[in-house]
């Protein structure tokens, strides 16, 4: 079946099947590799994308369910100012180690800061509760999101 949706601001018309997840559609058929497969159970968050601006785990979404909706990945936010502030903060604050969880974490953090430009540390932790990182222990990720909030402010 054919579906049509907006991917990173551009219209995408693509062939899929009812039992293909959004994750597999993005990676296998649309070449969007920033979205990662870590568990296929919605537990690790490495497959996080923004669906109409909200973070969701794409491994739990059937591709046809995004018909006429907006899907955003980090590829679509390269020029975005807020994402730029996040990227810089992550890079400079040492929040990136192996990088596998990074795109998912950035999207969760991006969605948080878009809605809540001055979050508390607890709010930052809550926003990435569904993104498991085994490398950093989260310390520098939390710092970087708080840092990005300040950078975006100025």
């Amino acid at each position: 079946m054919k579906i049509s949706f907006t991917l990173n601001g551009k219209k995408a018309e693509v062939e899929t099947s009812t039992n293909q997840t959004l994750l597999d559609l993005l990676r296998d058929d649309l070449g969007v590799k920033s979205v990662k497969k870590g568990c296929e159970a919605g537990e690790c968050g490495a497959c996080t994308v923004l669906l109409d601006g909200k973070p969701v785990t794409s491994c739990l979404i059937l591709a046809p369910q995004v018909e006429n909706r907006h899907v955003t990945t980090v590829e679509g936010l390269v020029e975005d100012e807020l994402m730029g502030a996040l990227r810089e903060a992550f890079m400079e604050d040492g929040a990136i180690q192996c990088g596998f969880c990074t795109p998912g974490v950035l999207l969760s953090a991006y969605a948080l800061l878009k809605e809540n430009p001055k979050p508390t540390e607890l709010e930052v932790k809550k926003s990435i509760e569904g993104n498991i990182c085994r490398c950093t222990g989260y310390f520098k990720i939390i710092e970087a999101v708080m840092d990005a909030a300040e950078r975006a402010d100025t």
Binding site: S34, K36, C44, R87, I96, C98, R134
Partner: protein, 770 residues
């Protein structure tokens, strides 16, 4: 060569340009943009999907293996078994006890038997389901006690004891006779699963009929090459191994790398087309090698002043189905048995035994984690009996320059543990926190954990590393190492060393991803050796290249070589900085004049020797030391433990990049918190019951404690670039006992096992009240 004084002696500088400063790592941007390619990201459409047919029995003979049904499944191209292995069907790491594909017998639930190669996942899974295997079940040994019984069935022909270890130092009888206080306990540490977020993966691509390329997640490309070539029966130079960016490894992918790559390669070579094997989370959690469970009986004696007199340690390592890393794990555990303290008399006896479970393998900290959990808990118990502060007992016995380790190795320099201890005691306001604090149902406690961890491969195996460096015609640099980027940033650390030595801007140096076809062997990325050994090979290459560049520059600038300074991509005269030449021009001059623009770096640390009878000798070239204080808060009504704050300290030799060091320490702390409080792999009759993130609980962001700034102590190691020692592992070793000792302080309960889940703590607290 004394590499620790490169700055003053060889570069003639007093200030670092880039070493010791926190710099944005080179791969960070690509990772933030989602453009860094991990193994699965290389897989194209049309690649054969490989799935593994695995044993459902913990111990059985294979009576019949029928692949016909699988072959007839639509979409299935081949089903490969042991009879399809052209070379050696043996892939054991050190002991040849592990068939690549099992055909006669299986030894654990998950043991690989066949490979289904199909068009897509769906067909592959159908194919797996269609394979018929008739087992002849055998009695299985699931525990150490079961497998050591006199009449226990032999899991391998050689018996159930894979190997042994020993230390005989001093006179323990005399030592114990002088000990006023003796504490004897038995500790049991469980499996730990790495749960790296990127599942294991390999993509193999045949290049003609006699060469294959495999891209995979791994830690030692040349180990993978060796194992793959053996399975194929090919020469080493017919196999090209490339390490893609790897999404977390922590030791695990050092073991799975060869196993997964060899399977993908066999499929690709047999079918003549690209084939990929990607594990799903269940496979990772249930079937990949894990931290070895261990049982340690520890008898420790001290005099009334708290001075350690003797120790008797008995270690039983539970290997699971195959020995794998056991020889190294047990040996390392054995020579660290006294902890970072001097114990004049010590006997250690160790053995590694087979059981019918998933097998043990590398994991951050190796056997040192279990051993320090035992030792550090013993010390706190001793301290309590002696009525002494646990810090004082430690400081009385801590290793210093001139003292000797468990294996009687004399430490003649680079021992920073005392500074680490004193640092965290002060930073955490230890004595104040040691006063009892209870508010309502919450009780706080503070504890310390100390660690030492030998750098490099164990068992005195000859260790060395190599790297290559090329100055391109435009003045940029290409650096090559097969030390793998696993998240820890080690290759970037090498680049910083190169940058420091050459005075080349860090972003003019490109680090190529490991490729056995084009790079010298840096040897494995494990044992915290990536920077100490790998980085020193980088230094060697850079120093050699520097010589060539300085020579040409001196000629062009008409001065002595000693007057040349290299900095910011420019060579100039020290006395007249305005007279200089950009690297771009200098490079061209090298090319034009036929002066080699490339260098091969090689480094071998001092040889180590030990006596196999006594276990005594030089075990490791250097040791990294760590001390961590943890404050916990216990909810006595529920048994829940929250880690409130952590104060870490580490003697890193020389901090090449403080930000990356902190990142490593913090990540290790998180894994240690998981191990101490929540990670619990449950098995029943050899079957893993919770192979998923839902029920194998690792810390989430909300479990993150406060962390103090890491106290970085620098006691440089003479024989490595700038004196750097490895940092990846000691932090996990010290955090676990810091937490368990803090719980001891808070509740008076000292645990001999982990994880200390809420239910376990609650149950013990309740019992102790009655």
């Amino acid at each position: 060569m004394e590499y620790d004084n490169i700055l003053e002696n060889l570069l003639g500088r007093s200030q670092f340009l880039v070493v010791g400063k926190s710099v944005v790592r080179a791969d960070a941007l690509d990772k933030a943009l989602g453009r860094a390619k991990f193994t699965a990201d290389y897989i194209q459409k049309g690649t054969i999907v490989v799935k593994v047919v695995r044993s459902t029995q913990p111990h059985a003979r294979i009576k019949r293996l029928d692949v016909d049904g699988a072959l007839r499944t639509p979409g299935v191209h081949a089903v490969l078994t042991a009879s399809d292995v052209p070379g050696l069907n043996q892939i054991g790491y050190a002991i040849p006890d592990q068939p690549f594909l099992n055909v006669e017998k299986v030894h654990y639930i998950g043991d690989p038997i066949a490979l289904v190669c199909a068009d897509d996942e769906w067909s592959a899974m159908e194919g797996v389901d269609a394979v018929v295997i008739d087992y002849d079940p055998l009695p299985a040994n699931f525990t150490i006690d079961e497998t050591l019984k006199k009449d226990a069935i032999h899991i391998h022909e050689s018996g159930n004891v894979a190997l042994t270890s020993r230390i005989r130092k001093g006179d323990v009888e005399k030592g114990f006779s002088e000990a006023e206080m003796v504490v004897e306990e038995t500790y049991e540490t469980p499996f730990q699963e790495h749960m790296y977020i990127e599942p294991d993966a390999a993509l193999a691509i045949p290049e003609g009929r006699e060469k294959v390329t495999v891209i995979g997640a791994m830690q030692s490309p040349f180990l993978v090459r060796e194992k793959v070539a053996h399975v194929l029966g090919w020469s080493l130079n017919q196999v090209r191994v490339i390490q893609a960016f790897t999404g977390g490894a922590f030791g695990g992918k050092d073991d799975t790398g060869p196993l997964v790559c060899a399977k993908a390669v066999l499929a690709a070579v047999k079918l003549g087309r690209p084939a990929a094997l990607v594990f799903d989370r269940e496979e990772v959690a249930a079937y990949t090698p894990k931290r070895f469970p261990a049982r340690i009986r520890y008898r420790f004696g001290a005099d009334s002043d708290g001075v350690f007199k003797a120790a008797e340690v008995d270690i039983t390592l539970d290997c699971g189905a195959y020995a794998n890393r056991a020889p190294f794990w047990l040996w390392r555990q054995t020579v660290h048995a006294a902890g970072p303290y001097e114990v004049p008399s010590i006997h250690v006896d160790g053995r590694a035994v087979y059981t019918n479970k998933v097998f043990g393998g590398s994991f951050r900290g190796f056997g040192d984690l279990a051993m320090h959990f035992a030792v550090e808990t013993q010390i706190d118990r001793l301290a309590a009996k002696l009525g002494m502060d646990p810090i004082d007992v430690r400081l009385k016995n801590v290793l210093k320059v001139g003292k000797r380790t468990t294996s009687d190795q004399l430490l003649d320099h680079s021992v920073g543990i005392e500074k680490c201890i004193r640092g965290v005691v002060e930073a955490s306001d230890w004595s104040h926190r040691r006063e009892s604090r209870r508010i309502g149902v919450k009780v706080r406690g503070v504890g310390i954990g100390c660690a030492h961890h030998g750098i490099s491969t164990s068992r005195g195996a000859p260790d060395w590393s190599a790297a290559s460096l090329i100055l391109n015609e435009d003045g940029t640099l290409t650096y090559r190492t097969t030390i793998c980027e696993l998240g820890q940033g080690t290759p970037f650390g090498h680049a910083k060393i190169v940058s420091e030595i050459l005075g080349a801007p860090i972003d003019s140096i490109r680090i190529e991803i490991p490729d056995t076809d084009t790079m010298p062997n840096a040897r494995p990325t494990h044992g915290s050796r990536g920077l100490t050994l790998g980085g020193t090979a980088a230094a060697d290459a850079a120093l050699k290249l520097r010589q060539h560049m300085v020579k040409v520059a001196a000629g062009l600038l008409e001065c002595d070589e000693g007057s040349i300074e290299m900095r910011d991509g420019r060579a100039y005269r020290k006395e007249d900085p305005s007279t200089g030449i950009e690297f771009k021009e200098l490079a061209q001059e090298l090319y034009v004049r036929g002066v080699s623009p490339a260098a091969y770096g090689f480094f071998v640390p001092p040889r180590r020797f030990f006596d196999p009878n006594t276990g005594l000798g030089v075990s490791y070239p250097a040791y990294t030391f760590a001390a961590t204080v943890a404050e916990v808060e216990v909810d006595v009504e529920t048994g829940q433990v929250e880690v409130v704050k952590i104060w870490p300290a580490m003697d890193v030799g020389k901090a090449i990049d403080p930000l990356m060091i902190e990142g490593q320490i913090q990540g290790a702390i998180s894994q240690g918190i998981g191990f101490a409080l929540m990670e619990d792999l449950r098995l029943e009759n050899g079957k893993v019951l919770n192979p998923n993130f839902t029920d194998y609980v690792v810390p989430s962001s909300l479990d993150t404690p406060e962390v103090a700034e890491t106290i970085i102590v620098e006691e440089p190691y003479k024989h490595s670039a700038f004196g750097a020692k490895g940092v990846g592992e000691p932090a996990i070793i010290s955090i676990v006992p810091a937490i368990t000792n803090a719980i001891y302080h808070a509740t008076g309960i000292s645990f001999n096992t982990v994880p200390i889940t809420a239910e376990r703590l609650y149950t013990v607290l309740k019992r102790s009240e009655q």
